[in-house]
Point group: C2
Chain length 121, copies 2
Amino acid sequence: MNYVSINFKDKFSKFNEHWSPRVIAEMNDYQFKLTKVRGEFVWHKHADTDEVFIVIDGKLTIAFRDGGVTLESGEMFVISKGVEHRPVAEDECHIMLVEPKGVKNTGDTESELTAEDKIWV
Amino acid sequence: MNYVSINFKDKFSKFNEHWSPRVIAEMNDYQFKLTKVRGEFVWHKHADTDEVFIVIDGKLTIAFRDGGVTLESGEMFVISKGVEHRPVAEDECHIMLVEPKGVKNTGDTESELTAEDKIWV
């Protein structure tokens, strides 16, 4: 049988849109998604689930109402469920998200940035 | 509030044992674990869950009964539940595992390599 690895750089080379997550893998009821980001996202929260951010390339700041954290390549952070946050990247940054299937990128906030959660790459 | 990123290289610098996963984060009922590996692991499977391997540094081959896949830094693979597999690394390799809490590293195989799943680093 032919098994093929999932290569992050290869997957990132296949799309250019910002704030538009692309699914690359599923594990049980969870999805791994790649996203290119730049600029400020909207404030939002996910009432029912934690959310993992992993920076693959670049620098990402996640703002909270009472502070923030900056992630560089090779770093991750877990946003606890219900916690309002806003990702911000001065320059283009490549990130991986891990979260349950069906989670919307803008959580409880309706926005023009709200994206489909079912686009594979 | 003081928020701190989780840095993979920093975490890997804090232990040297092989095949001994260290928990670095939890998301809902799932854990992110770092492991240093070298040599051949035991054949095993996880009857109830998929399992994600992400190579952070080095090269890892995952053998299946009918083939295999080799992952390099920046690559991942999802082992479907119930599928027998054996990780092999010729040289030391640093990997991240994502799987539900309570999953044993050797699955249904009892081995001297069976490790605690609750050691944080």
